[in-house]
């Protein structure tokens, strides 16, 4: 899947990083992206939101997509510009259907220990979309948008 047309970034502008599928290696792209955001003057709230959304995507990729198999890899593509940040995360799994996840904020689901990752990504990013298979997520953070 190419970068969504309305994300305002061309494929050729993206930096690609491939990491081993474990929770320590999965931190590597996060440092690069957050450091670049701070260098370009994004505030702490924007950096927090991006870190949160990216951690959720990477955790899903390691644990659910790649089933904790360290021999698999995760592909991250990103762009940090003055007005927006775009991040893509793709794992080697079969994907899932994000539309069928229960709402974790309802009374019935409040005590469930899992199921908040996608909701947090959607809350802290301007836009989140998945490819058809569900193993690739694209996230857009506009600079001027406030945190939830």
């Amino acid at each position: 899947m190419k970068v969504p047309a309305d994300f305002g970034v061309d494929d050729t502008e993206l930096t690609e990083v491939v990491v081993r599928s474990d929770l320590h290696s999965a931190k590597q792209p996060e440092g690069q992206i957050i450091n670049e955001m701070l260098r370009q003057g994004y505030d702490a709230d924007a950096a927090f939101g991006l870190k949160l959304a990216l951690e959720e995507a990477m955790t899903n990729a390691v644990k659910h997509g790649n089933c904790n198999d360290p021999n698999k890899t995760i592909v991250v593509r990103y762009f940090v510009g003055p007005q927006r940040v775009v991040v893509m995360v793709r794992d080697e799994g079969c994907g899932f259907c994000p539309d069928v996840l229960p709402d974790p904020t309802t009374d019935d689901n409040l005590e469930r220990p899992n199921g908040r990752g996608i909701m947090l990504m959607q809350s802290y990013m301007t836009r989140v979309c998945f490819n058809e298979a569900g193993n690739e997520v694209w996230m857009l953070k506009q600079r001027q948008e406030a945190s939830p």
Binding site: L23, K51, M58, T59, P104, T105, R116, S123, S147
Partner: protein, 126 residues
């Protein structure tokens, strides 16, 4: 009585018992490489002699959904054992995550340890 600390790069959990309440202090970033340890440690504390836990979040600068899951699991374990779990003085960024997920409706939040200690010390009605 003090429990040993779990210290790893960028994240720290310490716990001490005061009366029949356990005071847990979290600091740093509860990010993905730390949340499995966080969950295990909180469940051990909830399974301990005193299932009343106040978690001081004043030093915590980052929390993700897996850390929230650890809090919920410990909260449930405390309740199953007739106890309670509460949060104390989270920073703005963390309290925002608790509000977005509605967990501020599930787990009480107190402004300071004294208030939390008083609330947990009250006999439960019913």
């Amino acid at each position: 009585m003090s429990a040993p600390e779990t210290r790893r790069e960028g994240f720290n959990l310490s716990a001490e018992t005061k009366g029949d309440i356990q005071l847990v202090s979290l600091s740093g970033s509860a990010s993905m490489e730390h949340t499995d340890d966080l969950r295990q440690r909180l469940l051990e504390l909830a399974d301990g002699q005193f299932p009343r836990i106040a978690i001081d979040l004043s030093g915590l600068i980052f929390v993700n959904s897996a850390a929230l899951g650890a809090f919920i699991a410990a909260h449930r374990r405390c309740q199953e054992r007739g106890g309670e779990l509460c949060f104390v003085s989270p920073r703005n960024a963390v309290i925002q995550v608790l509000r977005v997920t509605n967990l501020d409706r599930l787990i009480p939040i107190f402004p300071d340890l004294k208030t939390a200690h008083a609330a947990l010390s009250k006999p439960k009605s019913g």
